[in-house]
Symmetry: C2
Amino acid sequence: MEFSSKLLEQAVNEMAQLPGIGKRTALRLVLHLLRQPQEQTRFLTEALTQMREQMKFCTSCHTLSDVEVCSICSNPARNHHVICVVEDVRDVMAIENTQQFKGIYHVLGGKISPIDGIGPSQLHIASLVEKVKTTAVEEVIFALSSTMEGDTTNFYIYKQIQDTGVKTSTIARGIAVGDELEYADEVTLGRSILHRIPFENSLKNN
Amino acid sequence: MEFSSKLLEQAVNEMAQLPGIGKRTALRLVLHLLRQPQEQTRFLTEALTQMREQMKFCTSCHTLSDVEVCSICSNPARNHHVICVVEDVRDVMAIENTQQFKGIYHVLGGKISPIDGIGPSQLHIASLVEKVKTTAVEEVIFALSSTMEGDTTNFYIYKQIQDTGVKTSTIARGIAVGDELEYADEVTLGRSILHRIPFENSLKNN
């Protein structure tokens, strides 16, 4: 790509560093900013700078937070005896959106993945185990993705806390609401039959 | 979307102002920046700020430029008697990439489009007409998109300069190189037969 301007080239190159943004898309975004009032670029760059420099992680659950202890961990109305273990902050947001969970979270920051060089020590597993052992935790809910890495991570944590006698559970796997049976993969369908629930239970929530 | 952090929410909202970037994509991009070293965010925001604040438009052809007169307009090796009329800087870059054009450009900044409220006065048409009338221009090449707006703009400019006796031309429309005839639309195919060229000419360039 030939640029008529170094400034443009630099901006496009930096923009194209973002995942999923190629050079053409970057050019389109940058030219859009040029057509908008200067304030829009200023607001964008200031928001990104502030976020990157001031963002904290909750000292208790390791989610992204503006303050030392996040609004969920510091909320006395939440059930601090039930911990939902998730991979990253997006999962916290997704579960919060369902409004079905009133406990607290623990963000691991990833999954155990030897192929990517991520071992247990790089994740927030030790602090979770510590929390389970030292505070009155009643249940740990594993809510990681249903992949080999997710299952490995679940099992690794389970092994470390099983002696404490704390109840452990994992979110239900099955056919998504609104999905057609014939298009479901056989592993999911098989599990959904194996882990069927009493019909009355299915009427309680939707 | 529920955010655990105001800083995050702000950054995502600003990012989602960009065209084609929804909230989910914005969140993915912003979380990516959080995982990268602080420098990456700094480089990105600095490049965007510099570009937005320092970018100039070439006083001659109105393309984006770091200096008063762009590198093409100030290049004595280019043929200043042939002007290629394009819509925006991306078209300049696209044509420059072909290395087939040795003249200069004139960037209109858009097309006449009454439906979007864009009239001739909002485009750089007057300065083009002025240039044609006052300097030794030999040919004006219309290289706008082949849409109703593009055709209207071409015709509007043509009407203003036809008295000067300058040669006007438009880029060839036809079947793209590598395309199958059977999938071409009939208007394009019809035009490509109507405006057929001597076979010997097709051997000169590829």
